[in-house]
Symmetry: C2
Amino acid sequence: MRKLYSYFRSSAAYRVRIALALKGADYLTVPVHLLRDGGEQHLPAFRALNPAELVPMLDDDGTLLTQSLAIIEYLDETCPGPALLPADPAGRARVRALAQSIACEIHPLNNLRVLAYLRDELGVSQAARDGWYRHWVEHGLAVVERQLAGDARTGRFSHGDTPTLADCCLVPQIFNALRFSCRLDGLPTALRIYEQCMQLPAFQSAAPERQPDAE
Amino acid sequence: MRKLYSYFRSSAAYRVRIALALKGADYLTVPVHLLRDGGEQHLPAFRALNPAELVPMLDDDGTLLTQSLAIIEYLDETCPGPALLPADPAGRARVRALAQSIACEIHPLNNLRVLAYLRDELGVSQAARDGWYRHWVEHGLAVVERQLAGDARTGRFSHGDTPTLADCCLVPQIFNALRFSCRLDGLPTALRIYEQCMQLPAFQSAAPERQPDAE
């Protein structure tokens, strides 16, 4: 049985939940609470499975997979269901680059552990940490907007008219931006695609508040 | 003609230079100086091509590609030469996850623009910025070491006995760690693989000091 080690609020886990739902792939959720008891991801039992002490991790019948984008590509290569990457190399590169514009340029700066370092090691105030968070989200999403709006390959979704890996990353990032009251004016294309995605049951069922460990 | 927009010290550009060299693919270097005149990546002429205002960017006969990992996968899919990803989905997922453990967990925190924000917006001292840099490199490489040392699929290189996308990411990260005097004890496997890579002409020719824009 496929098991996803997940935390409802982890946006990296959220990406994988969307991909699993788009593929129609069954799985059990194993909740890993990132805040309880100093973080369950640091427990020896979890660390023995994943030295990175991060969620998501997918256990596919004993094959352990980490890093959300790598997991999604694995699902695309091994599961039936709609393709999450285009067939042409240039299109695949574009979808991966859009995903990485979020997964490498925005999200790593706003992880829980980074915010904790700012607070505990550098003594950065709550207000300045909030400013940091919004800065990277707003700057990063403005880049994504230009990448989307300036390319004829953008369709109803980030690339063409079906959801891809890029949308699996875009939706959780917009969700976080909304949660932390980031400025979203100037993002008409990204928000249009977000709304389009949220019409689909796969995106709805993957949302944080629909998870078994939601609080 | 293939053109790589590169900066000799960019470790993301370094990754792509390694992949191009492993593939034996010819290209012209277009230097983009990230520090001169406030950063040439912000010039309107470059920004019009790449809204992210980042290097590397590959121009493959008019197809513009961004994000180093996406570019390397594109090269692997379109160029002859040795494969940079294994054939089996689980192996591909492992190589991608190793690459992303560097490209998503370490490198984004130590970008020039992040260090500039710490200095200019948060007033973080040089000593504390150096501590930040070393913290994320040392923590992140310790994770990579455990991922490498604890998996029988690690061979002469990060995955098996030929270089992959994972090695394209590992070498520039170790190079940076050496440059910034990070602690590297406790990384016997990562350092062994680094030394192994640096025996190969492809890794040697991609090094920062060998680039036309090296200072």
